[in-house]
Amino acid sequence: MRSPRFALAILIAAGVATASCATYEPSDQPYQKGAAFRDADIAPAVHPALDTDEAGLWMTMEEAEHDLKTAGNLVRDEALNAYVKGVTCKVAGPYCADIRVYILRVPDFNAMMAPNGALVVWTGLLLRTRNEAQLATILGHEIGHYIERHSVERWRDIRTKTDILMFFSIATSAAGVGYVGNLASIGVLASIYAYSRDNEREADDVGLKIMADAGYDPREAPKVWARLIREEEADEDKKSRIVFFATHPVPEERLDTLKAEAERLASTGFQGGIGVDAYDAAVLPLRAAFLRDELDLRRFSRTEALLNMLIEDGANVGELQFYRGELYRLRNGDGDLDRAMEAYREAENSDGPPPELFRSIALIHMKKGESVEAREAFSRYLALKPDAEDREMIRLMMEPAG
């Protein structure tokens, strides 16, 4: 059984364009519901015959998928899985039954589709799409790569050009990596296998159409990219690009094309939904865990920008302000203790801060030598969470020194 990483390497490895690929020109036909599926390069429910090279790839994928099912960082939450699968199915139309969705706990923005229909979504993506339409944008884009067989084409290219070990390197470092530190190197390696511009344009185009077919507002599509670009620009360290960008290059030109195409679709009188409530209902219960993963990366300027965007969006701001405070507390640079306390105070005055807020406030007081205030804050924490697993230690820390 091959590693799921191998399969997912193939996904990330969308590859370099071959000279023989014709340049992709988006059609300027008027919007026609279902047209994208009719023109697709792969019919639903197709399975290659056992002796083709595609079958070998398929077998590898199947075994990789077998491993994916037991991966340590697979998100097993039923409600979230049902939700993402549901959105995928809406967008995938007749291909719904061919696609299996796997959500992996990795704090970066990425989604990949294997040639056999396995779709992997990283939790870092769920933190960065704001609503169901934006999620549908990315899913539609990946489904576009799938139904136009871009991944299979990549595999053929790689077969003739690349050392399998390099391939495996990406496989093990890619997708679902528990070693958060690898994200920088994944990005570098993955970029070798980036989808071609033509593939990208085609996937954008198909993605927009099928998203619209499914009833989503295509004008949400360029907003996803805009948010990611904003986050990247805020990154002072520039240690690593968003992994998705490594394989899906986003020059400004694509963003403009996407906006124009979305407007064109919208102007045909098309009415599409956005879906904030359903999205929040599915993702908010798990958001704290994803934010904690984000902090582990210690990409503070970037995470700060992300948190600020999320605060602007306004869902459970108390939780977001708490994590903003945690960021400053962990960064522990000049003035950060005060910044942390300011964020914690905001959290106190907003919706839904977790009980841990008061534990962190207590820690700040302790650092400033304010033992009375520290004790008060610890007491509030314990009052809110009487069965806290650290209650014994905290009671000890509350005892007057000496």
Partner: protein
């Protein structure tokens, strides 16, 4: 079965793996000195490999169970020494850390080293020989999904951090020497 398991990275730092390239030597049973700081009395023999401030003991193989000693971390030291990208993400110790922050440090270090679904429980004071320390239990899964359990004991001495971590596969190997580790912990003597 997958590559992740095969990568033989249980967790706890690439340094550990680099250390695993060194030969294993026999330690115990009996009283043993740890980094000029304390001694322990081990009821059983272990296979030891070490590098820098980290010592790893195992009976059946580091992928199955391991007793890890981190000896004398100083201000600014990463929790586990690693090479490569995760070195940047490895959180660092500072001597002003409270027990809560040290637990945070260990948890983040474990996650960055590859522990998935990390859960901790029962964070409580526990003596590290004659100095006050703290203890918690934890569990996690490797990339492959292989479930592991662990226990951590930490203490500060003269501003330096001393850690003892015992981890092993939930299936059989953690339990195999858990009692030996508890007995060993009871025999800590500060030098």
């Amino acid at each position: 079965m997958n590559v992740a398991t095969n990568r033989v990275v249980v967790l706890l730092a690439v340094a550990v793996l680099a250390a695993a390239c060194a030969k294993f030597s026999l330690v115990g049973p009996g009283r043993l000195e740890m980094a000029d700081a304390y001694t322990v009395d081990s009821p059983v023999a272990w296979n030891e490999t070490s590098e820098g401030k980290v010592q790893i003991w195992t009976v059946d193989g580091p992928q199955l169970q391991r007793l890890t000693f981190v000896n004398g971390l100083e201000d600014g030291d990463p929790l586990f020494e690693t090479k490569g990208d995760s070195a940047e993400n490895m959180p660092r110790y500072n001597s002003a850390m409270t027990p809560l922050e040290i637990k945070e440090l260990i948890e983040a270090g474990l996650r960055v080293s590859g522990a998935n679904q990390l859960e901790t429980s029962d964070f409580r004071p526990q003596a590290f020989g004659s100095i006050p320390g703290y203890r918690f239990e934890f569990s996690y899964a490797l990339e492959s999904g292989l479930e592991n359990e662990g226990t951590a004991l930490a203490a500060k001495k003269d501003g330096k951090l001393y850690l003892i971590l015992y981890t092993g596969t939930r299936f059989y190997y953690y339990g195999k020497h858990k009692d030996d580790v508890e007995r060993l912990i009871d025999t800590i003597q500060i030098l």
